[in-house]
């Protein structure tokens, strides 16, 4: 209860508001919010379809603030991160960003995230889940300082074919020359912002990092600049469609963090998740390396792959079989959608060996609820390569700016 003078006790308002909250509430038409990493965030503003098409055909704006951020500094920062993540951080130059994953001792994935190299010994690590205890225990024996800075930075993701044009219209001259996975510093109406050409959509797009005090002003400037370029704030649901098309995996959807699994055999390695390209076995020791070597020697038991499924009914959570009669179970779908852009029925699925080979035919058992009547369909599916959608514009530099 609030008496109007004192704020209500914190336990009655357990979720934080991002600095964009007032703007987001003003734009929300359906009042559909979700909790994300301790914040209230928008799930849907208007309709999912409208927001999805803003990503693929115009410019979407997504509030990225709840993304957990760590600042990692110190003489050993590079050495520390190289031991933490599976890829070679020494090859990441200042001003560049890398997608990275990190494993526990058993070579099982704890989380994925983006690693920003801001200087020779200054990094920012953005993660989906909170990781401070793992990051601090990993710091034993290293001259490094790890601090969580989530609340000190507000972040927006601008994604879509007109995102560069919007930024230029907002006054970020030269932003079109920013290459994928590069970081630039710009001024927007006198407000300093950091821009990285990164995103979770597989499309042309940027992420904007700023002081929380500048958040609303930046939002307003972008909305004005983007008015004629189809700018539209989007919620998490539309983003989830785009990330499946881009073939990106989500923690707790496509894999469970190794430190959070309870049952034996539920944690997943980078080999199993199809992240081989992120693992550098030649760079020296890193967490899980010995286990990953051993697993590769044994042979990888299962693998996360892309599926192209017949029909147009999304195969959400479908079990997968080797035969049409559904006798031999060989895996399950973790993410699925009918892709409006690809015009294909797509899924990310974990399949046992040897069924994960590209071109393999499997069968998905799909249940449809039609006005409370259940229908069961067995749909033929083929293992295909990812990403499903990868337009040239995502990497062309100078970027499209009209």
């Amino acid at each position: 209860m609030s008496d109007g003078l004192h704020p209500p006790p914190h336990y009655n308002r357990p979720l934080l508001a991002t600095p964009f909250q007032a703007r987001a509430r003003a734009r929300s038409q359906v009042d559909q919010f979700v909790a994300w990493a301790g914040y209230t965030t928008v799930d849907v503003y208007t309709t999912v379809e409208q927001e999805y098409f803003a990503i693929r055909n115009a410019c979407s704006v997504y509030d990225l603030t709840p993304m957990v951020k760590y600042r990692i500094t110190g003489l050993d920062a590079e050495r520390y991160l190289n031991r933490l993540v599976t890829r070679d951080v020494s090859r990441l130059k200042p001003g560049r960003v890398a997608y990275a994953v990190w494993c526990n001792d058993d070579g099982h994935l704890i989380d994925d995230g983006t690693l920003f190299r801001l200087g020779a010994s200054e990094f920012m690590l953005c993660t989906a889940e909170r990781q401070l205890d793992w990051l601090l225990d990993s710091a034993i024996g290293f001259d490094v300082d790890v601090a969580e800075i989530t609340t000190t930075i507000a972040a927006l993701s601008l994604q879509g074919p007109t995102s560069c044009a919007v930024l230029k219209a907002a006054g970020l001259s030269g932003v079109e020359n920013l290459r994928p996975f590069c970081i630039g510093r710009f001024s927007l109406d006198g407000k300093e912002i950091t821009v990285s050409r990164t995103g979770f959509t597989g499309d042309l797009g940027y992420e904007l990092w700023m002081a929380p005090g500048n958040a609303e002003a930046v939002w307003d400037s972008l909305m004005v600049a983007g008015r004629t370029r189809g700018i539209r704030p989007i919620g998490s649901q539309a983003l989830d469609m785009a990330r499946i098309e881009a073939g990106f995996i989500m923690p707790n959807i496509d894999f469970v963090s190794a430190e959070a699994t309870v049952r034996i055999g539920r944690a997943r390695s980078p080999w199993e998740l199809g992240l081989d390209w992120l693992v550098d076995l030649t760079k020296g020791h890193f967490n899980g390396r010995r286990a990953l070597l051993a697993e590769r020697k044994r042979g990888v038991a299962r693998r996360l792959v892309g599926l192209d499924i017949e029909g147009n009914k999304p195969a959400e959570k479908a079990l997968l079989y080797a035969d049409k009669r559904c006798k031999r179970e060989i895996g399950a779908v973790s993410s699925a959608l009918w892709s409006p852009t690809c015009k294909r029925n797509l899924a990310l699925a974990m399949l046992d060996t040897p069924h994960f080979a590209t071109g393999s035919e499997v069968f998905a058992e799909i249940y449809l609820c039609r006005e409370l009547e259940w229908e069961r369909r067995v749909a033929r599916a083929v293992v295909v390569s990812k990403p499903f959608f990868a337009p040239e514009r995502r990497k062309v530099t100078p970027a499209w700016d009209r």
Partner: protein, 518 residues
């Protein structure tokens, strides 16, 4: 044959030396590197005042297995004893001293004498059944390997073969505290305390701490099959044990260099491939075996960058803070304990009048303070070995509990006061002691850390406790002498079966190295 060393042992403590001796006798080319100017580690004799020598850390030998003494032929390599089968005497301020093993006609009641005898028979039977576990590499859980399953079956059989009554009793007391166990069996406060004292020596525990029956069983198991039987004092102090081990190792072809400090283990292609000395020299070797404690081995010698975070976290959580201090006294005359025959100075003397005395002594250390009324184990080595002191003069060695590794006020501010407390405490049992003191020396756990290179100053290289024993000692992933880094092994007291001068960890580690190298 290549010049390359097949094994390099870092540290010439009794375990490092026994490991080197067994490897050399198996035909391996072995190098032992010791940072100190002499071999021995914590089994060492040194002068602490002109003309006065003392066993600077461990001061009694009671856990060296006959198998090792015989296999290595330590007796023919210089190991002799000045005192054997030493009795334990519980000192009393009024002179009602209790001598153990208990005999009729002394201070104890007839029922206590009978209980003591029955109790020790049963406990020694338990110890004898557990003993085989100490002499082998512990099994791994969940490995699926045949040898691990066999070892677990052997353990189950060791316990089952006690028979129904004794097995039940063992399982009943296994997790108990020694306070309750001692109070169950005996009437005399001194006898109760004597039993508890043995459970607590060298641990971070008081009599009411759960798991202290386990530490008592552990001690008795380590004493089972020891040679010579019972407490003994080597001629020349504990350093003579190390010297004999070194002589055996050298005779078998091992090379031992003292005054050489290893900075890091040299890693190549994710395997230990040698050692980097402080002067920058790299010495190549096939197997690198650390006699150092787990924290020093993994964080200092190896470096966390070669280890996974989960493993590092376990090592970091391994408790290895010492709670025992050493006090050395040089005396102008033998100490005169009340009602103690001069021959009694050749025995092991305890100041631990009651269970509550011990519990109160422990309480202080929980809060970062030393015990105002400490529990003390006293030996007068010069009473049996006159060469340790100038003619007619004496040395006293005392282990004092409890003295926490990190005193909350900092040891530099309180060490003088603590030494006075210890002397006052002994003086209460031996009037006139203070006037006879020519020199004194206090080693707090922090000093033990500095002098012996044991991180935390814990002479077992890590607490003896349920979660740090046997197949999880020091931590899962390093409990079979092997470590996550190929060719890097542990052979010190931080490994199974722990500390106490027994050289078993070194022997077990050597056998494991030989098995891997085969």
């Amino acid at each position: 044959m290549s010049d390359r060393y097949q094994a390099i042992v870092i540290g010439a403590g009794h375990n490092g030396l026994s490991c080197a001796a067994y490897l050399a006798r198996a035909g391996k080319r072995v190098l032992v590197l010791e940072a100190a100017s002499r071999v021995g580690g914590a089994a060492v004799t040194r002068e602490f005042a002109p003309g006065f020598s003392i066993s600077a850390c461990a001061h009694l030998l009671h856990q060296m297995p006959r198998t090792i003494v015989n296999e290595l032929g330590l007796a023919s390599h210089g190991l002799k004893f000045a005192a054997e089968r030493m009795a334990t005497i519980l000192l009393s301020e009024n002179g009602d001293n209790v001598r153990l093993p208990a005999q009729a006609g002394g201070v104890l009641s007839a029922s206590d004498v009978a209980s003591y005898s029955a109790f020790m028979v049963r406990m020694r039977r338990f110890a004898a059944h557990l003993r085989p576990m100490l002499d082998a590499t512990p099994p791994r859980l969940g490995s699926g390997a045949w040898e691990d399953s066999a070892a677990l079956l052997r353990l189950a059989w060791c316990i089952r073969s006690l028979g129904r009554t004794d097995m039940r009793e063992l399982l009943r007391i296994f997790g108990m505290n020694v306070y309750d166990l001692a109070a169950e069996h005996f009437e005399a406060p001194a006898l109760r305390a004597a039993i508890a004292f043995d459970a607590l020596l060298g641990t971070n525990a008081g009599p009411r701490t759960p798991g202290t029956v386990l530490t008592l069983l552990y001690r008795l198991a380590t004493e089972h099959g020891a040679a010579p039987a019972g407490m003994s004092q080597p001629v020349g102090g504990l350093g003579a044990v190390s010297d004999a081990l070194a002589t055996v190792a050298r005779a078998a072809g091992a090379e031992i260099r003292t005054g050489v400090r290893v900075a890091r283990v040299h890693i190549r292609n994710d395997r230990a491939a040698g050692v980097l000395l402080e002067d920058g020299t790299i010495i190549e070797g096939g197997h690198i075996i650390s006699n150092a404690d787990p924290r020093t081995s993994f964080f200092g010698l190896l470096g966390t960058e070669y280890l996974d975070t989960g493993f590092v976290r376990r090592v970091d959580h391994f408790r290895q803070s010492g709670q025992a201090a050493k006090v050395h006294l040089a005396l102008s005359s033998p100490p005169m304990f009340r009602n103690l025959h001069p021959d009694g100075l050749r025995e092991r003397l305890l100041i631990a009048p009651s269970l509550d005395y011990l519990e109160n002594a422990y309480n202080a250390s929980k809060y970062g303070e030393y015990s105002d009324a400490p529990a003390i184990e006293i030996v007068v080595p010069s009473a049996s070995d006159s060469a340790l002191a100038p003619p007619g003069l004496h040395v006293v060695s005392a282990i004092v509990q409890y003295a926490p590794y990190a005193h909350k006020a900092g040891w530099h501010t309180v060490r003088g006061a603590f030494l006075e407390r210890v002397i006052d405490t002994i003086e209460a049992y031996a009037p006139g002691l203070r006037q006879s003191i020519l020199h004194s020396e206090l080693l707090t756990p922090a000093d033990i850390e500095t002098e012996f290179g044991i991180s935390g100053g814990q002479w077992h290289h890590g607490d003896l406790a349920f979660d740090q024993f046997f197949m999880v000692r020091p931590v899962p992933g390093a409990a079979q002498y092997e470590t996550p880094v190929a060719n890097f092994f542990l052979c010190g007291a931080g490994a199974h079966p722990g500390g106490g001068v027994m050289a078993v960890a070194g022997r077990n580690a050597a056998l494991q190295v030989l098995k891997k190298a085969a």
